[in-house]
Symmetry: D2
Subunit: 396 residues, 4 copies
C-alpha cells in the first residue's frame, strides 16, 4: 500500500501564486491577505512538498529596484536552504500589468514585444540561478477578441521569433533550461493562441530549437474545451513532449476554476494518475517530472483552509496512485484488458517486414475477410470501465 503521507520522492510542487492567491475575482475583491513567499516555502516543506515555483513578480514585486530585488531573492534562497525545497520550474508574469493587455510576445505593439523578451530574459537568469530545469510559458494574453484585429499568422511568426530568440539565449548561457508551453483556450482573452495541447505541439514542431521545447499541460485548461485530458497527455507523451504538468480540477466548459486536483472530473483524474504512474514500458512511470499543482484555494476559504487545500491536492494524488496500483495488479483487470484486446493494439498492423504489396496479396485481409462476422464480436469495454470505477471507489 502506498503511503498517503507525501514525501520528497513524490515530487510534489506548488506555485507561490497558488496558495498565495488573494482571491480577487472578476466580481469581487480579495478575501485573504498576502502570504510571504518565505512562509510559503516553510509551510509547503512541512506538508511534504519537494518544490516551489514562481513567476518573477510573485517573488519580486513588479517595479522593485535592484536592492529590493536582491533582498527578496536572498530571503527566498535562505528559506530554500533551510527547508531543502527546490525550484524545479519558474515562469514569467506576462499578463498582469496593463502593458500586456494585448499580449507580450505577440502584442501588436513592437515595443511591448521587446519589453516582454527582456522581462523573460531577466527571469531566465534568476531561474537558472535557482537551479530550475523547466521554464514555463503561459501566453494568457497572446490572443484576441476581434478576429480582424489580430493577424494570427503574424502573431505565430512573432511567437516563434520570441521563443527562438529566448532558446538561443538559454543555450548560449548554458542554463540547461527546457521550455514548456502551457496551452489554454480562453480567459483572460476571448481566444488564446495555441489553445490546446495539440495546437502547442504543432507549433513547437516549427521552432528552431524544438528539441528543447515541450509542454506544461493543465488539467482544467483542456477540460475548458471539454477535451479528454488523458488522451491529450497521451499524445504529448507519445511525441516526447510532456516536460511538466499542472494538476488541478475543473467542471467542464466555464471560467477557469483551478479546483483542487480531483475535485472536478474524478474518473479522468484516476486515468491520468494511472497513466503517469503506470503507463511507462513495463508498467513503470511514464513521466518522472514534478507533480505540480496549479490550483486556487476557493475564495470562500481562510488561510488555514488554504494549507488544508494544499495538503488535499497531494493526498488525493496519493490516493489515486494507490487505487491505480491496485487496478493494475488485479488479475481480473488483466483478464478484462486482454478480453478487450487492449494489448493487441501494440502489435503492428503489418507483420515484421510485411509491405503493402504483401498486404494486397493477403486475401484473408480483404477478399476473404467476413466483415459481418468480425462485427459481431463485442469489445467488452464497459467491463473495463466498471472495474476502473470500482477500484477508484476502493470497492475491490
Amino acid at each position: 500500500m502506498t503511503s498517503l503521507r507525501p514525501t520528497r520522492a513524490d515530487r510534489f510542487s506548488f506555485g507561490l501564486w497558488t496558495v498565495g492567491w488573494q482571491a480577487r475575482d472578476p466580481f469581487g475583491d480579495g478575501t485573504r491577505p498576502a502570504i510571504d513567499p518565505v512562509e510559503t516555502v516553510h509551510r509547503l516543506a512541512e506538508l511534504g512538498a519537494y518544490g516551489v515555483t514562481f513567476h518573477d513578480d510573485d517573488l519580486i514585486p513588479f517595479g522593485s529596484d535592484e536592492a529590493a530585488r536582491q533582498h527578496h531573492v536572498k530571503r527566498f534562497r535562505a528559506a530554500l536552504e533551510e527547508t531543502g525545497l527546490v525550484v524545479p520550474m519558474a515562469t514569467t508574469n506576462l499578463f498582469f500589468h496593463p502593458v500586456f493587455k494585448d499580449g507580450a510576445l505577440t502584442s501588436n505593439d513592437r515595443s511591448i514585444r521587446r519589453y516582454a523578451l527582456r522581462k523573460v530574459m531577466r527571469n531566465l537568469d534568476l531561474a537558472a540561478e535557482f537551479g530550475a530545469s523547466t521554464y514555463v510559458f503561459w501566453g494568457g494574453r497572446e490572443g484576441s477578441e476581434v478576429d480582424a484585429a489580430k493577424d494570427v499568422r503574424s502573431a505565430l511568426d512573432r511567437y516563434r521569433e520570441g521563443l527562438d530568440t529566448l532558446a538561443q539565449y538559454v543555450i548560449d548561457r548554458g542554463y540547461g533550461l527546457r521550455f514548456a508551453l502551457e496551452p489554454k483556450p480562453n480567459e483572460p482573452r476571448g481566444d488564446i493562441l495555441l489553445p490546446t495541447i495539440g495546437h502547442a505541439l504543432a507549433f513547437i514542431s516549427t521552432l528552431e530549437h524544438s528539441e528543447m521545447v515541450g509542454l506544461n499541460p493543465e488539467v482544467g485548461h483542456e477540460q475548458m474545451s471539454n477535451l479528454n485530458f488523458v488522451h491529450g497527455i497521451s499524445q504529448a507523451l507519445w511525441q516526447g513532449k510532456l516536460f511538466h504538468i499542472d494538476l488541478n480540477g475543473q467542471h467542464g466548459p466555464k471560467f477557469d476554476q483551478d479546483l483542487v486536483f480531483g475535485h472536478g472530473d474524478l474518473i479522468s483524474a484516476f486515468g491520468l494518475v494511472d497513466l503517469l504512474e503506470h503507463g511507462g514500458p513495463g508498467g513503470g512511470p511514464a513521466y518522472d517530472g514534478p507533480r505540480h499543482f496549479d490550483y486556487k484555494p476557493l475564495r470562500t476559504e481562510d488561510l488555514d483552509d488554504v494549507w488544508r487545500s494544499a495538503a488535499a491536492n497531494m493526498r488525493t494524488y496519493l490516493l489515486l496512485k494507490e487505487r491505480a496500483a491496485a487496478f493494475r495488479a488485479d488479475p481480473e483487470v488483466l483478464e478484462a484488458l486482454v478480453a478487450a484486446r487492449v494489448p493487441e493494439l501494440a502489435v503492428p498492423t503489418l507483420a515484421d517486414g510485411e509491405t503493402y504489396a504483401d498486404l494486397l496479396a493477403d486475401r484473408s485481409a480483404f477478399e476473404d475477410f467476413d466483415a459481418d462476422a468480425a462485427a459481431v464480436e463485442g469489445c467488452h469495454f464497459g467491463r473495463v470501465d466498471q472495474l476502473a470505477i470500482e477500484h477508484l471507489m476502493g470497492a475491490r
Copy 2:
C-alpha cells in the same frame, strides 16, 4: 460587386453524402428517399458547383460485387463527363459498418486494421482514376469511451503506421494524391483521437511522408469544442497544411449539426471567408482549393428543400465574399487597422540582424521603457469589430 451566381471558378464542391443524407438520426428514421449519385451530379452542375466528392460506399454500396462496382463507376463517370463536374477529393467510409465500431486504423482488433487498410487502398485506386488530388481521412471511429480500454499511444503508433503505409502506396503508384486529415473532438465516439486542428497538425509532424499530409478542417468540428475556427485555419495556413476545407454551420458545443454554411456563427463565417479570400500576401486568396460544403439538409426538409439548401451554401459564401471585399476596400477600415497596429505585428520584434545581445544592450527596450505609460494607449479593437459587423450587415 461579386456576382452571387456560383460559377466553376468559385470551386464549390459537395459530398454525395450531404445532399444525399436520408436524415436518419439517433432518435429517428430517415425522412427522405435516397438520391441517385448521377442525379446529384446533374443537379449540382446546374446549381453552379464545380466538384463532387464521395466515400467509396456512397458510390458503390458496401458489399457490391465487381460487376456492380463497374456499373456504378461507369454511370458516375458518364455523369461527370456530361456535366463537366470534377472529383477534387475522395475518402473512405471507415465508420458505418459495425466492423468499425472500435475504429479502423486504430481498432484494437488487428484483422480489422488490416481490412481497413485494404478498403482505403481500393478506394485510393478509384480516387486516382477519377483524378482526385486530395484524399480525406476522417477517423470518426478512431477513439474511445473508456480511457483504460484504449492505449492511446499504441493507437497513435498504429495510426501513423497506417498513414505511412498508405502514403508509400500512393507515392509508388504515382497517384499524385495528398492526404488531408479531418479532426473532430467526439461523436460518434465519446472522444476521438486527433480531436482538433492542433492535435492533427502535431500528429502529421511525426509522419514519414509528412509533406504530403495536411488537413481538412471542418467549421462545426472545431466549434463543437468552442474553438475559434478562424484562428485554427490561420495556424493551419501558417504551417502550410490547409489542403482542403469543410464548410458548414454549428451552434457551439452540442451534437454535430452540419448546418448550411453561415447558418451558425455568422461573424466567424465572415472572418473565415475574409481570411480565405483576402488573407494571402498582397490581399489575394490565402487558399486556392475547393470550397467544399460538408453539411446536412435539415431533417425536416424535402427533396426540393435539399437542392435549395445546396444553393444557399454557395449564395451565403458569395455574399460573405462580397462583404469581405468591401470591408478590405474601405479606407476607414484600413485606417482603423493601422490605428489598432495590426500591420505592426508583421514587423519582426528584433531588427534585421539584431541579436538578443543587442536587445539586452538596448536600454530603451527595458530599463528606460515606461510600462505604465505604454499601458495607457488603447488598442481600438472594438472599432474594427464594429466595422466588420457593419460590413457583414451590408450597412456601409
Copy 3:
C-alpha cells in the same frame, strides 16, 4: 454495510429501449440484434430490477394491427406475471417516425398534433392497464433549428393545450397517472423546448392540472448544458416535482451519451445519491420513486456486455449509496458541516415573528455590523469536499 446485490426494495427499473438499443448512431449501423421484450423482462428480473418501462412502440411495433397488438401485450403481461416485475412508468414514442420530424404536440402541422394526442391517449390506456403510476413526456422533437420558423409562444400554447387535454383525459378515466416532463436542451432538434429542469418547472406552473404534472429529469440532459444536476434535482424536490428520475452518465456538453450511471461525473453522482437517499427530513430518503436507468450500452458491446452493463448501473448506485451512508455517519463530516455553517442555512433569516420593521430597527444587523470583520472568517468548504471525495473513494 449496504448489500451490493440489488433487490426489489431498491426499486431499480430500466426502459425496454435501453438494453434493447441496437446501437444505430448518426454515423453507423446497428451492431446488435433486437431483444424480445419478454427476454428483457426475465433478464432484468434475474439481475434484481423491480420494474420495466416502455414506449408504446418498444412493445408494439409501429403500425401493428389490433391482433398483433393484443399478442404483444399478452406475452409481455405474462412475462411480468412470471417474474413479478412491475411497470412503474410508460411513455409515448413521439420522435422516431418521420411524421414527427417537426414535433408532435407542437408540430406546425395541426393534423400531426391531433394524431400525436391520439397516439398518447392510446398508450395512456395501456399504461393504466399495466398499473403504471407515472407517464413520461420527453418532447425530443418539440423544438426547432430556425428561430423564425417556430413561434415559440404559440408552441408553448399548444404544448399546454395538449397536456391539459391529456390530463383531463387521465382524470376522467380515473387512471391515477401522474405526468412527468423530461427536459433536454438539444438533440435531436437543434434546440428543444423546455430545455432544462427550470424551464419545465416554470411551464408546469401554467398548466390547468399542474398538481399532477412533475418532472423526470435525466442526469445527462442537464449535464449537456453543463448544469449542476444535484442543484437541479434539489430545486425539483423543493418545488415538490421530482416525480421520476433518469439515471445515466455524460461527459459534459456534447452529444447525448447515455453512459452507465456513474461512468461520467462520479462526484456529482455521489452527491445525487446522497441527496436522494439521505436528503429527506431526518436524513431519510428525499425521493421514494423508481431509480430508473435511461442509458445505452456502448455501441462496441455485445449482448453479454449489455446485461453486464445493466448490472453495472445498479451496482454503482448501491456502492454510491453505501459510500453516502458512511459519509453521513462520519462524526468528522458532521463536525465539518457545522464548521461550514451548513445547518445554519435552515434557520430563517428573520426570527420567528420578526418583521422587516424589526430588522430595520436592529442596529446590529447593519449600522453596527462590521462587514470587514465578518468577511475574514473562512467558510471551510474545501474540507467538506475533500471528506466527500475520500468517502466516495472508500478511503475513510
Copy 4:
C-alpha cells in the same frame, strides 16, 4: 427606414458599471481610470441613451458616511436633471465585498443574510427616490462550489424568504417597484442558484408576491449554457415575466464576456430584436421596457474606445431593428412562413368547443390518418433561415 441615430424613444439604457468598468480581470490589473458617474450621465445623454442604471456602490462607494452619501446622490441627481436622463432600474451590489463570498440572501451565515437584506432595503429607498420602476436581483454569489456544503433546498427557502420580505417592504412603502431576477449559470461561483431563465421563472412561481417579480435575462448568461436566448425570452414573454433585459454578446460556454451587443452570435441577436420589436400581437413590440446594455468595453480599450463601444451597442441594435422590419415586410418572407406553416401553430389543436371525446371519435385524426403520407411533406424551414440571414446581411 429606421434612423440609426439613437433617440430617447428607443429607450436605450446603460449601467454605470458598464462603461465604468476599469477592466480588472482574474489575471490582470485595471487598464482604465474610474469615470465619474456625472460624466457618464452626460456622455450617455449625448450619445442618445435615455436611461442610466446603477448598483448602490457604483454611485456611493461602499462604506461612505451619510454626508458623502448625500453628496454623491445630489451630484448625480443634478446630472440627471441637466440631461433629462432617467433611472429606469437600480440594483444592489451583493457580490464585490468579501463579506458576500458565500452569498448574500443565501449565505450560510445568518448575520450576513440579515446585513444583505438591509443593504437592499437602503438602496430600494434610493431607487424609489430616483423613480426607478424595476429593481434587479443578480445573485452572483448565491451558489456553491461544493455540493455537500450548500443545502440548496434551504438556500431556496432563504432566497424566497428574502424576496418575500423585500417585496412586502416595497408594497408597504408604495414604491411601485417591480423586481427582476437575473439568472446566470456560474461565475463567480462554481454553480449559481437559479442558473437559467427557466429556473428563475420556476422559483418566481413560488413567491408570495409573484405577480411583482419577473426576469432580467442577459444574452450572454444563457449563452454560457449554450441555450437559445430567443427561445428563453419567448418563454419569459409567454409567462408575462420579461420585466427588463440585459443586452450584450458572448461566444458560447466560457467565461462571461459581456461583449458589445451583436458582437457574439449575430443571428441570434437578429432573432431577438425581431422578437422584441415585431413579436407582439399584430406585429408590434412584444416588449416595451428599456433596452439595457450590460456589457464591458474590451480590456484593451481606452476611454475614447469606451464611448465608441457604447455607441456601437445602440447602432447595432438599430441596424438589427431595421433589418428585422425589412424581413417582416418582405412578401417572400410572408409566403415562406406560410409555406412553413408557421401561422398554423397559432391554431388550437382542438377546434373551438371540441373535447378529447370528440377527438377520440374523429377517425381522420388517427385511424384514417396516413402517417407515412403526412411525413413526406417538407417543412421548408431552411428557406426561412436563408431569408432571415440575407435580410440580416442587407442583401435583399
